[in-house]
């Protein structure tokens, strides 16, 4: 009974959040003359979109590093697989010639989007249905491809000890990046060039016949998909399997002695984590509107790892919170550090291009060294308990 109530509350909470996002991004359309921050071009929406994508990847990494105790650094590699799977499947047939012009066309003639449009039509509701359906299938396939590669990679590397596992997964990500940049595979991967022309988040904005935007959904879509995926990960973590993962993290020898098959459960966690990283990669491709191997470097993995650490290793809500803070700081709030600033005639010292990242990495080091629990430790955010605390405080004051 109590449990049902709790899941109902979570459902309501997520629905409210999603409705709020839709409202926020359409505010400028309803009420003209709002400040710049509510306009679709404002950094607010860039941050929201990117953070929605990254939070899924961070949570998927936390599933592996925080809940199963497997220190893997392959996240960027699995995102790469997801991004390319999505991109290759979703470039419309008629665009392929143009995208792959350096290689004289694409060896892979099938386009999921065009196939779906063939069934539902291209305009109106049929077009929308075709796009939504093909996009969902492509993202699922992106996850599956990623998960499948994780399975193959997992067979040799999951037997390794913590730090060797880290370096081996990092190595696999680098190998994947090299393969996807190989010119010989250019007719599929477009070599070192980017693949573009596929539907992005803004393709989900609803327009009228004259091309004007009726309803913006470009921030809502990544929120919706990420929220659903994170919800599934949370369900997994709170299930019998999630408990088994935590047992492996706390003490492998005891876990094995209590009947938990180490290899099978580590593999499960690795494949599921990579599945969601793959979906995250597909979303990332939609966010940046292209797929290019050189974006998915180990620096990207480090960034996600640091987000997980800031949020608290072993806390899903911590990872999500930390992602939004991290992305907002790096893309928006600390931007001013990058531009030269004059107060009167005096130039403020140090401020110039690149200073933001220096400050940022110092902050991260301080967190790593002095607040190693991160924002949430291994606790979950509990709005109910938080509200109760506030209420109690208020009552005391009165």
């Amino acid at each position: 009974m109590k449990k049902k109530e709790k899941s109902f509350r979570i459902f309501i909470g997520i629905s409210i959040l999603l409705l709020f996002v839709i409202l926020l991004e359409n505010l400028s359309g309803f009420i003209p003359g709002l400040p710049q921050i509510f306009q679709p071009t404002s950094p607010l929406f860039t941050v929201l979109k990117k953070a929605a994508v990254y939070s899924l990847v961070a949570v998927s990494m936390n599933l592996l590093n925080g809940f199963t105790g497997l220190f893997s650094l392959g996240q960027a590699g699995f995102m790469l697989l997801g991004a390319y799977t999505y991109a290759i499947l979703m470039v419309p047939t008629q665009m392929k010639e143009q995208v792959y012009y350096l290689f004289g066309g694409c060896a892979f003639d099938f386009s999921l989007l065009s196939a779906c449009e063939g069934i539902f039509g291209t305009g109106g509701f049929g077009g929308a249905a075709a796009m939504i359906l093909s996009c969902l299938i492509a993202l699922l396939l992106a996850g599956c491809v990623s998960g499948f590669f994780a399975y193959l990679i997992g067979i040799p590397v999951l037997r390794l000890k913590s730090d060797y596992l880290a370096i081996a997964t990092l190595g696999f990500a680098e190998i994947l990046r090299a393969i996807f940049q190989w010119q010989k595979l250019g007719r599929i991967t477009n070599g070192a060039n980017m693949i573009k022309g596929f539907p992005t988040f803004s393709s989900f904005n609803i327009t009228n016949s004259s091309g004007g935007t009726v309803l913006r959904l470009s921030t809502f879509v990544p929120f919706l998909i990420s929220a659903l995926c994170i919800l599934v990960i949370m369900l997994l973590i709170n299930s019998s399997y999630g408990r088994a993962f935590k047992a492996i993290r706390d003490d492998e020898v005891a876990a094995e002695a209590m009947g938990i098959n180490l290899f099978r459960h580590k593999m499960m966690s690795f494949v599921i984590s990579s599945f969601f990283a793959g979906i995250g990669g597909g979303l990332f491709a939609m966010y940046v509107a292209n797929a290019q191997a050189k974006a998915f470097t180990s620096v990207m993995t480090y960034e996600i790892l640091l987000i997980v650490v800031i949020g608290g290793i072993g806390s899903v809500s911590g990872s999500v919170l930390a992602t939004f803070l991290y992305v907002a700081c790096s893309e928006w709030w600390l931007r001013f550090l990058d531009s030269e600033l004059y107060i009167g005639a005096v130039k403020v010292p140090l401020l110039r291009n690149g200073f933001r990242m220096v400050v940022f990495s110092v902050v991260i080091m301080v967190i790593v060294l002095f607040f190693s629990q991160g924002i949430m430790g291994d606790q979950e955010l509990n709005l109910g308990a938080l509200l109760k605390k506030i209420r109690v405080k208020k009552e005391r004051k009165e």
């Binding site: 590093n65 220190f71 040799p156 590397v157 037997r159 390794l160 913590s162 730090d163 060797y164 880290a166 370096i167 081996a168 990092l170 190595g171 696999f172 680098e174 190998i175 990046r177 090299a178 393969i179 940049q181 190989w182 010119q183 010989k184 020898v253 180990s298 620096v299 480090y302 790892l305 640091l306 650490v309 290793i313 110039r352 291009n353 690149g354 200073f355 990242m357 220096v358 940022f360 990495s361 110092v362 991260i364 080091m365 790593v368 060294l369 190693s372």
Partner: protein, 295 residues
């Protein structure tokens, strides 16, 4: 034939430069069981300092100064970022190392403005010489000999001095050594000092042969050097050196293959493939000792 010789020569020289970095990894791992992800970036910082110092000072001053400051940097990193986490889980220390690497790269981007910087032409090292019909830089010839000399010296240090003995003891058993009155922190500092010093020497040799330094220029040689250390058996200095030479040679061979095959993108990937093969089939490396865990 001449082509083969020139590929081999440059392979040996790249390998020697990796060896100098790999020793730093293998020493630190042997003692702290930590993959010091920041080591490659220390190497990059040494390269950048080489550029800035030689611009204002004569080589006889600037190059020793580069080595000294790099050593200080290595020492400070250990004291500031790793020492406070001595009793923390190993994952935390590794994360701290990644944080340091991130900080060094971002600081380098800030200082250089993100532009690739050209390494100065150091007169003697960059001069050309004719070996078996191929023109090559002096640095290519000097590197292997210098590496061998340094390794021999290091070997003497580790096997015949008090601090060397302490280092061997700590790498065998951290806790017991502490109980026996070995000053763990000074041993660890010594390790970082030696590692950073060798990385600084390596940077002078490596970047003389390289067109430019970017803030991420240390990451890849660093990872490769780590692979070399694993290949040779982590903790073993001769192992790291042999591993580094092998990786250097393989890499230049791959880069030197006909361009129609277009496999040069795999010169980095190859190293990692080698790593995975080694980890799966002989995890203790060529010269490492197998360890058993006590339950």
């Amino acid at each position: 034939m001449e082509y083969v010789i020139s590929v081999l020569l440059s392979g040996i020289s790249v390998g020697g430069q990796y060896a100098l970095i790999a020793i730093g990894y293998t020493l630190v791992y042997g003692i702290l069981r930590l993959i010091n992800f920041a080591h490659g970036d220390v190497f990059m910082v040494a390269g950048l300092m080489g550029i800035y110092f030689t611009a204002t000072m004569p080589y006889s001053v600037s190059i020793p100064l580069v080595i000294i400051i790099t050593v200080v940097l290595g020492f400070v990193i250990e004291r500031a970022a790793y020492k406070p986490l001595r009793n923390a889980p190993r994952m935390s220390v590794m994360i701290s190392a990644i944080g340091v690497s991130y900080l060094l790269q971002n600081t380098a981007t800030y200082i250089t403005g993100g532009q690739p910087m050209t390494y100065p032409v150091i007169p003697f090292l960059a001069g050309t010489v004719n070996v078996a019909g191929t023109h090559t830089k002096w640095v290519v010839i000097i590197t292997p000999f210098l590496v061998l000399a340094l390794v021999v010296a290091l070997n003497q240090l580790i096997n015949h001095t008090k601090i060397g003995m302490a280092m061997r003891a700590v790498s065998k058993d951290f806790e017991t050594s502490r109980l026996m009155g070995i000053k763990i922190n000074s041993v660890i500092s010594a390790t970082f000092i030696i590692g950073s010093g060798l990385a600084a020497v390596g940077s002078v040799l490596f970047f003389t042969n390289y067109p430019a330094i970017t803030p991420t220029a240390g990451a890849m040689p660093g990872l490769k050097a780590f692979v070399a250390a694993v290949f040779g058996g982590i903790g073993s200095i001769p192992g790291a050196v042999i591993g580094a030479f092998l990786i250097g040679i393989c890499e230049t061979i791959i880069k030197g293959l006909p361009s129609s095959w277009d496999v040069s993108v795999f010169s980095d990937a190859f190293t990692f493939a080698l790593l995975i093969v080694i980890l799966v089939f002989k995890p203790q490396g060529l010269f490492g000792e197998a360890a058993t865990d006590k339950v």
